[in-house]
Subunit: 198 residues, 2 copies
DNA sequence: TTAATATTGTAACGTTCGGTACAAAAATAG
DNA sequence: CTATTTTTGTACCGAACGTTACAATATTAA
């Protein structure tokens, strides 16, 4: 027994997906509600009836980006293969996002963290949660590497994960800002070397 | 013999300095020309007579940020003290900018790189130039550390500098986005340890 | 002093902003 | 069927957007 009244003729998640890419490309302040209507195909009536405000739609877009992103990232870190292979693949995945993505270039979560975390505590919460989860997954794989001896010289998994986390985010920022592939390769090499030794 | 006509009653660089902070706080899209007039004390006539457009003022603001920033940064990297002390001080300087700055929090150059580098080739150029100069200064100090033996195990200065560069920018982004001091300390430790050994 | 010139503050320009009002449309419940 | 409910597209709201126009102002050159 479904609800009374005219049914919606769109999928909530599909709209959030599209809006996510619009915000990702143009930023929060840089895109208008009209842009969102154009890209999603919704009229303002539907858009405001469903989401209430631009800010609320943005939060849902960032939340969705976080959810799909953390799944992809942990899947890579927990996949088969050596620790070294998985970490290199992780960086490579980020590099594809920055240089070859059919989605917008760069990382929406970074943009949201810098543009909106200070203005919107909920956005801040999503970003912080994502980083905590990602860091935890990194600590796990570092522990594995230390246990098996793949990572030489005892250092704490927390320190290793913190380094890899920061280097990863710097990598993404530098890639997006400069589109410099040579630098990207050097960062990948420098990061891998710092963990696995010369 | 000065020019004919009514003289300006403001200093060009002072205005750029103020505008820099306004853009830094609110972002390019997030601040209006009225915001810039309010903060600088200039009327729209003067502002447009002097700079021509919001975009042009933004470029000058980013350029000025770059100039003052690269001086500060290279001064730290080239100061007296051990390589380790200088690198730790460099990270600490960034941390102060992110947590305790009386200026706006975070780094305008990162914001500019992410928000405007894709839209404005001149901004892209400033950001890329800054990063190249900073990386060169980092390579120099890494060479010194390798030469004196302060940095153990031979790795290339380029790889070391690339790692430090990316970790530094990730550090800044994570600090600004999450305001998490514990994480910041862990990143500092992880980064220093990865260069100087356990 | 007067002519020329540059800067100033203010008042607008047309456009776009985020958001709302509301009637037409499309479904279910009875 | 009719009544009710929900979504839809469109027209519109006042405010703010980046930018321009321009007369008043303040200076120097002659």
């Amino acid at each position: 027994m479904s609800k009374r009244g005219r049914p919606r003729d769109f999928e909530h998640t599909s709209i959030v997906d599209i809006a996510m890419k619009t915000f990702w490309t143009k930023g929060y302040e840089g895109c208008s509600t009209q842009d969102l209507c154009n890209d999603t195909g919704l009229g303002k009536g539907s858009l405001y009836n469903t989401f209430g405000s631009k800010q609320e739609l943005y939060k849902q877009a960032v939340e969705r980006y976080h959810e799909t992103g953390i799944k992809e990232q942990t899947a890579i870190l927990e996949s088969t293969g050596s620790v070294k292979e998985r970490l290199r693949y992780f960086l490579n995945w980020g590099m594809v996002e920055d240089f070859e993505s059919t989605s917008p270039k760069g990382c929406l979560l970074i943009n949201a963290g810098l543009e909106r975390a200070n203005e919107d505590p909920i956005v801040e919460g999503i970003v912080s949660r994502h980083i905590e989860l990602l860091k935890a997954a990194m600590e796990k794989i570092m522990e594995e590497g230390l246990r098996t001896g793949e990572i030489p010289r005892q250092r704490s998994a927390v320190d290793l994960a913190s380094l890899f986390l920061s280097s990863y985010y710097g990598f993404r920022v530098l890639n997006t800002s400069t589109q410099n592939r040579t630098l990207a390769e050097q960062i990948m090499n420098g990061t891998m070397e710092s963990i696995f030794g010369a």
